[in-house]
Structure formats: C-alpha cells, structure tokens
Amino acid sequence: MSSLGSLLNTALTSLQANQVGLSVVSNNIANVNTPGFSRQRVLMREGPVVGGHIPVGSGVEVFGTEAFRDQLIERRLWNETSSKSAGDLTHQSLSDIEMVFNESGNTGLLPLISSFFNSFQKLSANPSSTDLRQQVTTSAASLTQYINARASDLQNMKTAIDHSINDDVSKANTLIDQIAVIAKRIHETETAEQPANDLRDQRTSLVKRLSEIMNVKELDSNGSYQLTAGNNRPLVIDGTVIHLDLSTSSSGLTAVLSGSSDVTSEFTSGTLAARVALRDQSIPQYQQSLNQIAFDLANQVNQVHSASFDQDGNTLINFFTPVTSLAGAAFNLAVNPAVAADSRKVAASSQANGSGNEAAIALGNLVNVPNAPRGTIVEQFSSLVYQIGSDTANADADTRQHGSMLTQLENLRASVSGVSIDEETASILQFQRAFQASARIISVVDELLQTTLSMGA
C-alpha cells in the first residue's frame, strides 16, 4: 500500500518527465530548419516497483534522449554530395570553356578561318592588287590573334583551376581540424547510455561539407573513429589529424600530398577530383586540339606558300612563322613578320616571274584539303566544338542526375531524421495532457492530505 507521500512523488516524476519531453519537442521545433539536425525523442521507462503486498510502480524515469539517425543514409548522402559537387563544378567550368568556343551568331573562329582562306580566293581574282594582298595579311593576323587568345584563355582557365586546388585543400584541412576536435569530444563525453547527439550531428554536418571537396570514408566503431580519403589516406584517427599538404610538381602544377605520397589523382569525386580532371584531362585535350589546328594550318599554308612566288618572283617564303612543335603551337601562331610588313611577299604566283594566280587559288583551296588522318582545318575545329559541347552536355546530364539522387536521399534522410511540425505539435499535446493530469493528481493528493489533517480537528 503506497502512502500519499509516494503518490506525490509519483506525480512529481511525471511532471518532470513530461517537462523534459516538452523540452525535447521544443528543441526539435527550434531546429526544424537546422541543416544536419536529427530529431530526438525522450527515452522514458517505468520507475522501480515499490511496496510489498500490492506492488505499484513509482512513476516514470527519464533515462536519456535518442536521436533518429541512419548512419548508412548519411554516408550515402556524403557520396552523393561528392558526386553532385564534382558534377556542378565540372559543368560550370565546361560551360565557361564552351562560351570561349561559342560559334553562334557569326562570331568565333570559323568566320575567321573562312575569311582567311577566302582572302586568297579574292586575291586570285586580282593578284597584283595591293589592297587584296593586304587583306590577306590582315585576315591572317586576325585569325592568328584569335587562336592565340583562345590558347591563353584555355591556359588561364587551367591556371585558375590549379590555384583553386589550394583553396580546396586549405578548406578541407580546416574541416578536418574541426572534425577531429568534435570526434575527440564525442569520445570523451559519450556514455553507453547517453550518446552525444548534438556532437554527432555536428560531426556529420562537417563530414558532409568535407564531402563537397573530396569523397571520404568513415569508420566509427567501439569508440574508435577514422576518416580516410583517396586510397585509404587517413585524415583523422581518433583525435589525431593528418593534414593534406601542398607542393608543386615538376610541371609547375599543384600537387596534393598525404604524408610524402602524392595523392593528387586519388580522389574520385568532390570538387578536388573535378578540378584535377579538368586540369589534367579535359583542358589539356582541348589545348591539344587547338595546337593541332594551329600546327596543321601553319604547315599546310607554309608548304604551298614557300613553293610559290611572291609579286617580285621571290620564293621559299613562309607565310606563317614556322611551327615545329605541337606544344604551344596555338599560342605562338603568327604571320611571318616579313610578310606582314610587306604584302608584296604574299606568294600568289606559281611562276618564277611572279605573275598569275595559281598559288593564290591553291592557298585558298586549302580550306578543302584534309590533313590526313585528321581532316580539314574546319573539320578539326568542328570536332573540337563537338568535343567541348558533348563534354558539357554530359556534365550537365551528370549533375542533373546526381541532383535528383541527392534530393531523393535528402528526403530519405528527412524521413528518418527530419522534424515534422505536425508530429511535434501532436507530441506537445501528448506531454501537455500528461503534465495536466499529473498536476491534477497533486491537487487531489493535496485535498486528501487536508482531509486527513482535518480528521483530527
């Protein structure tokens, strides 16, 4: 048989427990918009049974709070975040490059190629015209300047991307530091009964932010915590941090080091991997194509031009400054300064006396002459446009796909960990009613006590 006092105590545990419940609800609602927050619930259990003959429970006991978190979903979310941020960055950079080679609206390289070859055609109609000769050198200069400018655009983009690898690494190091600090605190404060919910949320959020930069793997068991990236390069081992370092490779590009190993190309997703791929694969490929165009243009034109005769019957004149190596061809392409300075040196003739127009026709016709096995200059250029266009379109499709998958996963995460205002509102009612009923018990007990006390009066 329980006493009135124990009845009061039982009601009191209920008041306290439901108040804790309301606090947890309040915290959930407060964090409804907090990224990375996992909703919590209060954990209650019955109080110990007291009394002898008729055992009655002694109320309720709050023994902790529990967070709704599915670590598997969180990890999938990290992976998808890595892929999405890599896709976004690749798409954005390729779109920039695409605009450099945008041919729509009568601007771009093609109109310059056409007017260059056509200037020889026009000259063929009147090979002794000074105006038409100058038109050849002028349109050649516009063409070479345009190719030079596109070559530096590509190089500048490559350099800018190379520099931003530094930013990524320093951001990553900051995040790694923070993750290690929190991992250490989790290790120190967590007990088997009460997990460090808020710290775990924070760590999860930080790892997610790190995932934007690089894809990471987490190992969290039995109080030991490990975070690795690339080919199992450790970033955090329990409380210890292993920073990524930077150095400059022999080719003058940024290299990422873990310890003494070069891990630059070990990352498979995240912005770091995207930047490395753009820097080492996509852009060099476009540079190579542009160089090949410049190389073929110079050699093709020089071959015909040097075998022909200028207005004064001189021969063996190169039209372009000779281009001997593919590397830097687009950047260095230039009209032979002697020809640029004196348009009489344009070789329009195939006769030693410098008359006639056969060479001008042959030079103009080079627009139709393929550089086996690569096709004509225009065909090579259209392949480059295709290459850049399809790379950009693929990156766009990629980033869209990862975008939808990311939304799916975020919804999945929300279905486990997200806060629903309606649900919390229902919980408020639940705890409020329980609190009210317990308070009612207390006032009843109070009345009973007064009745008891007045018995003796």
Partner: protein, 293 residues
C-alpha cells in the same frame, strides 16, 4: 509509408519549381533567339555540323563571287572582241574599196591607221585593274607599241582561272596571243596593209585582206569559246545558289527553333509553374497548429 517532414515538403516544392523554371527559360531562349542550338552543349553534333555547313556556305559565297567576276570579265572580253570584229570588218571594206577604186585616198589610209590604234586599245582593255588579254601578266599592258610603231605582245600564254567550286575552276580570260597575235598578228597585218595602200600595191592589199578574213575567223572562234565559258560561269552561279539554298535549309533544320513548339512549351511550363506554386502555397499553409487553440 515514408514519413513526410516539414523540410522535405519545401525541398520538393523548390526542386519542382526550379525544374519548371528551367524549362521555361529554355523555351524563352529559343523564342527570343529563334534558335534551338544556342551553345554547343544544346546539341553537340548539330553544333559541329553547323560549323561545317557555315564553312561550306562561306566557301560557296566566295565561289559565287568568283563565278560572277569570271562572268563579267568574260563578257567584257566578248564585247571587246565584238568591237574588234567590227573594226576588222570596217578595215576590210576600206581595203576592198581601195582595191576596186584603184586609188587610195589619203583619208582612207588615215582611217585605217586610226582603226589600227583602236584595235590596239581593244587589245589593251583594262577591267578590274587588269589587262584582260595579257594572260597571267595581267598587271602590265598586253601589247606595247614601240616608237617605230611595231606592236609586240608583252603578256604570256597562260589563261588565268578562278575557283568556282570545291573541285572546279573556270578560265576567266583568253590570252591576246590566241586572238590579236594568234594565227594572224593583226597589228603587223595592218602595218603591211597601210604600206600596201600607200604604195597602191593591189596584190599586197589582197594578201592582207585574206589575212584580215582569217583574223575574223580567229576572233569568231575565240568568241564561241567565250560564249561557252560565260555559260559555264552562269551555270556555276545557279548551281552555287541552289547549293546554298539546300545548305540554308539544312542549317535551319539543325539550329532553328520550332517557334510554335517553343511557345507552347513556354505556355505549358507557365501553367505548370502556376499550379506548382499554388499547390505549394496551399500545402504549406496546412498545419495542425491551425486547428488547436
């Protein structure tokens, strides 16, 4: 059942609105630019084809210009030779008159000399800054008259050509060496004629008349050839115009937006956007809180 939470509702709404807005923007771009390929990634293979076709069109436009130049040059040559033929005819009748009248008035001889100069100026016709009968030496006079009156050919025997197609060229001139100083040198003929007329040498005049007739034959043959070349230039132009029409049609197919489709796409996405925002506004206004006091 999947638990629906407050933020996932917003996230879905936002994603839907973004998708629709993007579709709207694509349609809007197509309508305002009139093109469905605004950047290479819109359709990489079409963008590459557009480059190749644009290049072909630029070349064809040049070939067209070349064919037109060729045609006008050939026509000038033809009308010049027409003049030369008339002059030759006039000289022949003057010479025949001299044979029959048995005397050569000094005015007749004078006229023949003047007509000889006329013939020279025909032979040295300049068009587009070029001596059209000088062969490929077209920047200097085709025929040079020495102080003693002898006229010599300074051109060469190469007929210049212009490219009028990917694999075709067209001759734009007939060198003077095939007309004025071909099988008959008209200038030495006329010099001999004047000498014969001055000295009343009837046989001599007859010999030169025969050569004049031969010259007319040469000119007529040359004009037949010019006629053929002019036809060639004209048909090259019409072929090139046809080809350009075909290329333009192909280009339009590749890159021009279907305006009706783009507009209906735009309207559709507008409706979808209105629906999505309306539903979003209604859903987010529904809350248990509204029913509790």
């Amino acid at each position: 059942m999947m638990r629906i939470t407050t933020d996932s509702g917003y996230r879905n709404l936002l994603q839907d609105i973004q998708r629709i807005a993007e579709r709207m923007q694509t349609a809007q771009n197509q309508v305002s630019s009139g093109k469905k390929v605004n950047r290479p990634s819109d359709n990489p293979s079409a963008a590459a084809d557009v480059v190749n076709i644009d290049s072909k069109r630029a070349s064809n436009a040049q070939y067209l210009e070349n064919a037109a130049t060729a045609q006008s040059r050939l026509q000038i040559a033809d009308s010049t030779l027409d003049g030369a033929e008339r002059v030759s005819e006039r000289i022949r009748s003057l010479a025949l008159l001299a044979v029959s009248s048995n005397s050569s008035a000094s005015s007749t001889v004078e006229e023949v000399s003047l007509l000889r100069d006329q013939m020279l100026s025909y032979a040295n016709t300049v068009f587009d800054g070029q001596f059209i009968f000088a062969g490929s030496n077209s920047d200097t006079a085709a025929y040079v008259k020495a102080t003693d009156g002898t006229v010599t050919y300074a051109g060469d025997s190469n007929a210049m050509k212009l490219q009028t197609g990917r694999a075709s060229t067209l001759q734009t001139q007939i060198p003077g060496s095939q007309v004025f100083s071909g099988s008959v040198d008209i200038f030495s003929t006329l010099t001999s004629l004047v000498t014969a007329m001055n000295s009343g040498d009837r046989n001599g005049i007859r010999t030169q008349v025969a050569r004049l007739e031969q010259f007319s034959q040469t000119v007529s043959t040359a004009r037949t050839k010019l006629g053929g070349l002019i036809n060639g230039a004209a048909s090259a132009q019409s072929d090139l115009r046809q080809a350009d029409l075909a290329e333009t049609a192909h280009l339009s197919q590749l890159q021009d937006a279907d305006l009706a489709q783009a507009l209906s796409e735009f309207t559709q996405s507008q409706t979808a956007l209105q629906a999505a925002t309306a539903v979003g506004a209604r859903v987010s206004s529904l809350s248990l809180l509204d029913y509790l006091k």
